[in-house]
């Protein structure tokens, strides 16, 4: 689960001190990054867990086909 949180990567939404910057990053562009981080992180998490999900699904389907055969 910790792995999943790291992959998704948005820590929390709480205030931080303003950084000394010379470029205005743009409010909208920062919000978008949070959205993208979730999307990219979710995709990465799915990739990491894909094997587990697919093996779970195949086990589920084999169990079902087995029980189908039983009836």
């Amino acid at each position: 689960m910790a792995h999943l949180i790291r992959a998704v990567g948005v820590v929390a939404l709480f205030p931080v001190a303003a950084h000394a910057q010379y470029l205005d990053p743009g409010a909208g562009s920062i919000l978008i990054q949070a959205v993208i981080a979730v999307a990219v992180g979710a995709a990465a998490a799915v990739k990491i867990y894909w094997r587990r999900i697919s093996s779970f699904a195949s086990r589920l389907s084999s169990r079902r086909s087995k029980s189908d055969a039983d009836t």
């Binding site: 950084h19 909208g28 993208i36 992180g41």
Partner: protein, 459 residues
């Protein structure tokens, strides 16, 4: 010693050029960050990998008269030519984009980050991009987002996407809006089908909408966003993966790309033209050659083989330009082909019209090639012959000019639908005009149609 007129925004330091040597000052406002990045080993690693320009710390006293508060001075190697993003080919801009992302990812590995993502921080050595700004890097702070994300979209992603999705060359728009193409502007011209790409929808459509409607509530929300380092790295990697796959559509396949194969030369004629160029270059040994109308770079390559130090090519056709860039990359040539219409060259742009110097301001060629171009300018664009030769011969002290007579099939094509109002466009006139301005060192008819090559040098 002049301060580089493009170097004024960053309070952390400035660039100065003296007698061909390039120095970067580090001022009190930037010294803590600079030292932290240096101690992290990032500069050494990035420059040894060729991603970042080399930098050697020297005695700050070298700048004492112009910038007495400088605490460090870094000396950089002098580049062949300073080019601007609106002059790069599609693949040039793409290579600069992936370089910027690679450096940011590498910086994060060293606990550092990038403050901006300006395409003007990238220059080219041949076709290889190199990052030039040491002061773009600062220590990474927990929770910090990708600070240059919006700028990256404006200066790299959006121009590339414009060409990918519409087939329209990005360079003219980029030149006009030289800080790049905003997401809100691009969103208005994207074709409907591109909206089915989730990435385009997020980076362009949604970002464009948020750009247009800034509210106090959204600003407060933006201030509260904290991203983990992993999230920032994931975003950078995902962007890099995407950008690396972007390609111009088929619309950019143009007749000029095939010009070398379809041009009106017999193999023998081709050989004698190449031989002429080769021998003149071998005798002159120019450091820098400018190849005007370089097409796919055939003669640029010959010039390099014959001993030219480097070649900067100029070509307005996006297809030919891409072919030239690919040639330079695959054959590892010190050849940089740039987007430029010589009848409308890059002007000086930006703050005080000095920030991005124009074509004429950057003249540094020892020799200029003007092959199969003169007839396009005179017969095709109606530019007066005398002005064209004046201009051409002001670019470099030596050069090679090809004269294509009106009887040549290519020249006939240019005159097919318009009256011949060019009585002075003759071999005799061209010879006389060159002789008034320089010495003709060699003159040779290279094709049956009567094409003539002239090599000129200072009188």
């Amino acid at each position: 010693m002049p301060q580089d007129p493009a170097s004024f925004r960053d309070p952390a330091g400035h660039v100065h050029v003296r007698e061909g040597r390039v120095f970067r000052s580090v001022l009190p406002a930037g010294v803590a960050h600079y030292r932290a990045v240096r101690e992290s080993g990032f500069f050494d690693r990035a420059s040894s990998e060729g991603l970042l320009i080399e930098g050697r710390e020297g005695d700050p006293a070298v700048l004492q008269h112009v910038e007495p508060s400088a605490l460090h001075v870094i000396e950089h190697p002098h580049l062949d030519f300073i080019s601007h993003p609106y002059e790069w080919s599609f693949f040039g801009l793409r290579a600069a984009a992936t370089l910027t992302l690679d450096l940011h990812i590498l910086a994060l590995q060293h606990g550092m980050t990038m403050t901006d993502a300006s395409a003007y921080n990238v220059q080219f050595v041949g076709p290889r991009p190199v990052f030039i700004d040491y002061l773009s890097f600062i220590p990474y702070e927990d929770g910090q987002a990708w600070l240059g994300y919006r700028q990256f979209c404006q200066q790299f992603l959006n121009p590339l996407l414009l060409t990918v999705t519409t087939g329209v060359a990005f360079q003219p728009w980029y030149r006009g809006a030289f800080e790049g193409i905003s997401s809100s502007d691009l969103a208005r011209v994207l074709p409907f089908r591109s909206m089915f790409s989730p990435r385009v929808a997020l980076h362009v459509k949604l970002q464009g909408r948020l750009e247009r409607n800034v509210t106090a509530k959204r600003e407060a929300a933006a201030r509260s966003v904290r991203l983990s380092k992993t999230a920032v790295r994931n975003n950078l990697r995902s962007m890099r993966e995407w950008v690396a796959t972007l390609k111009p559509p088929g619309a950019q396949r143009t007749p000029w790309q095939q010009y070398e194969l379809t041009a009106q030369y017999t193999p023998g004629e081709r050989l004698s033209k190449a031989q002429f160029v080769r021998e003149v270059i071998a005798a002159e040994r120019p450091g820098t050659v400018w190849d005007l109308g370089c097409n796919a770079g055939e003669y640029s390559e010959i010039a390099l083989e014959a001993g030219a130090g480097s070649v900067i090519g100029f070509e307005p056709d996006p297809g030919a330009l891409s072919a030239a860039f690919s040639r330079a990359v695959s054959k590892q040539l010190r050849f940089l082909p740039l987007f430029l219409d010589v009848a409308n060259p890059s002007p000086s742009l930006g703050w005080r019209q000095q920030e991005r110097p124009g074509f004429a301001e950057r003249r540094n060629a020892d020799l200029v090639l003007c092959l199969a171009l003169l007839h396009h300018l005179v017969l095709g664009r109606n530019l007066p012959l005398i002005q064209v030769l004046d201009w051409l011969m002001s670019i470099a002290p030596s050069g090679i000019v090809e004269f294509v007579p009106k009887e040549d099939p290519m020249a006939r094509q240019l005159l097919a639908l318009k009256p011949d109002i060019f009585p002075d466009y003759t071999r005799e006139n061209v010879t006389a005009l060159i002789k008034e301005r320089a010495r003709i060192v060699r003159e040779e008819v290279v094709t049956e149609s009567g094409r003539v090559l002239f090599a000129f040098a200072p009188p």
